[in-house]
């Protein structure tokens, strides 16, 4: 029994040490990126390319999911709100659901797969094929060449995609409500305005900004610290997507608690 307890203690201790080491490596990488910011001549043009890739490349999937999210929210609201609940509440529900929750969270989760997986796989492959070592051997900093442009592009483009998702989601919800429910444009617009606070829009963008940071930093960290060949790249990629998704959900809860009270 004591042997099992000792083994359990040993494993727990090892897991704690591994977790602390990972936190240390992550902090080191972030500090390295901070130093890389000074080399703006290097990261600025690469950031522009990455912004184009993230923005244009992700636009279709963002439009798709936000349209469906808006339409489904409107239809489900119409299904549930029967009897004494005024129909204009559909406008309130669609607008608030999309702007406060569905827009940023769905965009964050989808881009965790699209961008997070891509960055982790790209950097992981560069690590295991010694391309990152090659960059360092040429006296060039991987942070300013590889990491800063990716994180900056996420921080610039993902909040913009969230704004697009919010607008398109509400518009799609409006159209779907008009088609399927006995609601006029005036009712929907009244409902949308009645519980609306300007802070709601800021809150949505703030969430997008935090999710962007999670996507950029975690995917770069997982890719940059990849080990053990193709298997390691696979592990880094799936690990990045899972970690980003969990962190997005945690941030979602935390930001709601901090900013909406």
């Amino acid at each position: 029994m004591s042997a099992i307890a000792a083994q359990l203690q040993h494993r727990t201790g090892r897991a704690v040490l591994d977790a602390l080491a990972a936190v240390g490596r992550f902090a080191q990488l972030v500090a390295e990126m901070g130093r890389g910011l000074a080399e703006w001549r290097i990261w600025l043009p690469r950031t522009r390319d990455e912004c184009w890739s993230i923005g244009v490349g992700s636009l279709f999937i963002v439009l798709l999911i936000s349209s469906f999210a808006g339409a489904v929210t409107a239809l489900q609201a119409g299904y549930q709100f029967t009897g004494n609940i005024p129909i204009y509440v559909v406008g309130s529900l669609v607008t608030e659901s999309i702007v406060l929750e569905l827009g940023p969270v769905l965009v964050g989760l989808v881009l965790a797969g699209r961008i997070g997986a891509r960055y982790a796989a790209e950097l992981g492959t560069m690590r295991v094929t010694e391309q990152i070592d090659a960059l360092e051997s040429l006296g060039r900093a991987p942070s300013s060449h590889l990491l800063v442009p990716r994180v900056m592009a996420c921080l610039i483009m993902i909040p913009m995609l969230v704004i697009i998702a919010d607008v398109v989601g509400v518009a799609a919800g409006w159209l779907a409500a008009k088609q399927a429910l006995p609601i006029s444009d005036q009712d929907f617009a009244y409902g949308a305005r009645v519980y609306w606070r300007p802070f709601d829009a800021y809150y949505s963008v703030i969430k997008g900004f935090f999710f962007a940071g999670a996507i950029g930093l975690i995917s770069c960290y997982r890719g940059f610290t990849t080990k053990q060949g193709a298997e390691g790249v696979g592990r880094a990629t799936t690990g990045a997507v899972v970690t980003i998704s969990v962190v997005i959900l945690l941030l979602d809860t935390l930001l709601a608690k901090l900013l909406l009270n």
Binding site: E130, Q131, D133, A134, S137
Partner: protein, 248 residues
């Protein structure tokens, strides 16, 4: 000059280098032989500061590599060209952009005309035709990748060249071409080179001195002639196994 003193490195429980001592003189070509997995590449990466030692020192031009700050290390790296085992070419860039990244002086890297001229010169030095410049690494053969890797390493006019298994994975004809290229570059550029390899024939053909690394230690160092006559058991075992009584 490169001096390696009592260098030790372990990964987890596995001891890779266990007190390596080695000195490479200015202008010489040193071949570092040894079976696969004995830490030859790890040793090479210590010289350029890609791996930090657990103990011991690597002194390049009087500077202890492990204690250098970011700027000093970056400056030192600009004097060293590193040829990676599989080329390590940036697969999102074409051959021109890959070689251009080897230009370590900002005035060369930032000036289009100077950069183009230097890249073309490096391509000529490794016997590749100008049409190669627009190709992506995925379109190159193994031998061409190695040569582009060498061109990138020499683009910054380094004082030292480190080759990590420059002929591994190549057929004998291409291996001979790369060996001849290394010999010619060492003569033409006057660089100090360390070539990590397990290709004994190539080492004898190109090196001024040869060292044998086994079980984490350098067990023998000498000229090809001295090495051939060595009575060290590890050297005899290595030569007999690899040459199979072929005349050296």
């Amino acid at each position: 000059m490169i001096e390696i003193k009592q260098l030790a490195k372990r990964f987890g429980a596995q001891v890779i280098l266990d007190g390596v001592d080695l000195t490479v003189q200015e202008g010489e070509t040193m071949a570092l032989l040894g079976p696969s997995g004995t830490g030859k590449s790890v040793l090479l990466k210590h010289i350029i500061g890609l791996i930090r030692p657990d103990a011991g020192e690597v002194i390049v031009d009087g500077q202890n590599v492990a204690t250098l700050g970011r700027k000093e290390l970056s400056a030192l790296r600009s004097t060293i060209g590193y040829v990676f085992q599989n080329g390590a070419l940036f697969d999102s860039m074409n051959v021109y952009e890959n070689i251009r990244l080897g230009l370590t002086k900002p005035e060369e890297f930032g000036n289009k005309e100077i950069a183009e001229a230097r890249v073309a010169e490096c391509l000529r030095l490794v016997n590749l035709v100008p049409e190669t410049l627009k190709k992506m690494p995925a379109e190159l053969s193994g031998g061409m990748k190695k040569r582009v890797g060498i061109a990138r390493a020499i683009a910054g006019r380094p004082k030292y060249l480190l080759y990590d298994e420059p002929t591994s994975g190549l057929d004998p004809v291409n291996s001979d071409i790369i060996d001849a290229l290394i010999k010619r570059l060492d003569t033409e550029l006057g660089v100090t080179s360390i070539m990590v390899t397990h290709d004994v024939r190539g080492a004898f053909r190109t090196a001024d001195r040869i060292a044998l690394l086994t079980a984490g230690k350098v067990v023998a160092v000498g000229t090809p002639a001295e090495f051939r006559e060595s009575k060290v058991p590890e050297v005899r075992a290595f030569l007999e196994r690899d040459f199979d009584n072929e005349p050296l």
